[in-house]
């Protein structure tokens, strides 16, 4: 399976990147941009073929390595491996 782990700063935690991007978009003349938040996305190819087992595995990876739970939260999505081409 393919697991996509999205890691974002918890709400309330200062996001200097998001702030700076918002400011830059504003300077570029884009109007109507509210809050901007920056996060990470990690795509994993997993040998595991059962979606639920794959999700459990990816969540465990997120908890142990991919996300810093002190300041970040994460979300896992599971998708079938695409055939490259």
């Amino acid at each position: 399976m393919k697991a996509i782990v999205t890691v974002m700063l918890k709400t309330g935690v200062l996001d200097p990147q998001g702030k700076a991007i918002g400011q830059a978009l504003h300077n570029l003349g884009f109007a109507g941009v509210g809050e901007v938040r920056a996060g990470k996305l990690i795509e994993l190819e997993l040998a595991e073929t059962d979606p639920e087992a794959a999700r459990a595995q990816a969540e465990e990876m997120a908890r142990r390595l991919l996300a810093n739970l002190v300041i970040e939260s994460f979300r896992v999505e599971i998708a079938p491996l695409e055939i490259p081409g």
Partner: protein, 230 residues
């Protein structure tokens, strides 16, 4: 030589650059605020190192969009000289004034140390005070100096002789160990096709005084001053 140093918010090596330029030219360069749009009268525009806009998103990405860039493009278009060092190099690639991009160092760590650079050609206004093939020492300090371009671009750069400097051993050999940040083909610096725009990652401006451990970087600034002497 009338030089201007562009100051974006977060730039932090503008003072180092001013000292090196003043020593070479005999007078202080002009400090150019990022909102300025008129660079008339400048021979050389320098984009120094630092963390413009915090290097958030991508190094140099936000600076490359700022008002002064229009003037810098115009300066390039009229054949003016441009030197981009470290963040300045990143900004030049983000702005499309030099090809390729600077990725995160292969080690994923900030690298602050001296490196050795080989002068790939000495017939330019930047390198004229070096011997061709000379090896000189330079401090470097960056997290994203890993030069990347696709193979076709790299082949073209090599073919057109636009590689300015390469990371080498002290003896001048192009090896993976000498290439700490993982740059494609050990590229440390690049010229534009007209040889008037130079971007490089290391900091020759921080090695222009024997007290700081050497003067290996000084010929670059002296050469420029000689080439652009009014």
């Amino acid at each position: 030589m009338k030089a201007g140093i562009v100051v974006f918010p977060g730039i932090n090596r503008e003072r180092d650059m001013a000292i090196a330029l003043e020593a070479a030219a005999g007078h202080k360069p002009r400090m150019v605020w990022h909102h300025e749009t008129d660079l008339a009268g400048l021979d050389l525009v320098v984009i120094p190192g630092g963390f413009s806009y915090g290097d958030y998103l991508r190094c140099g990405a936000m600076a490359a969009q700022s008002p002064v860039m229009g003037a810098i493009r115009a300066h390039a278009a009229r054949g003016g000289h441009i030197l981009g060092v470290c963040n300045g190099f990143q900004i030049l690639t983000e702005a499309g004034l030099l090809p390729g991009a600077l990725l995160r160092n292969a080690s994923l760590r900030f690298l602050s140390m001296d490196c050795w650079l080989r002068v790939e050609r000495a017939d330019t206004d930047f390198a004229r005070h070096y011997q061709p093939g000379a090896v000189f020492r330079s401090p470097m300090a960056h997290g994203d100096g890993n030069y990347f371009a696709d193979d076709a671009t790299l082949d073209r750069l090599e073919g057109e002789g636009l590689v300015a400097f390469r990371y080498v051993t002290q003896e001048g050999a192009v090896t993976p160990e000498a290439n700490r940040n993982g740059s494609a083909r050990n590229i440390a610096g690049l010229y534009s096709p007209n040889l008037r725009v130079l971007g490089l990652m290391p900091h020759p401006e921080d090695l222009v005084d024997p007290l700081m451990g050497g003067t290996d970087g000084k010929p670059l600034f002296d050469g420029l001053a000689a080439a652009l002497a009014a």
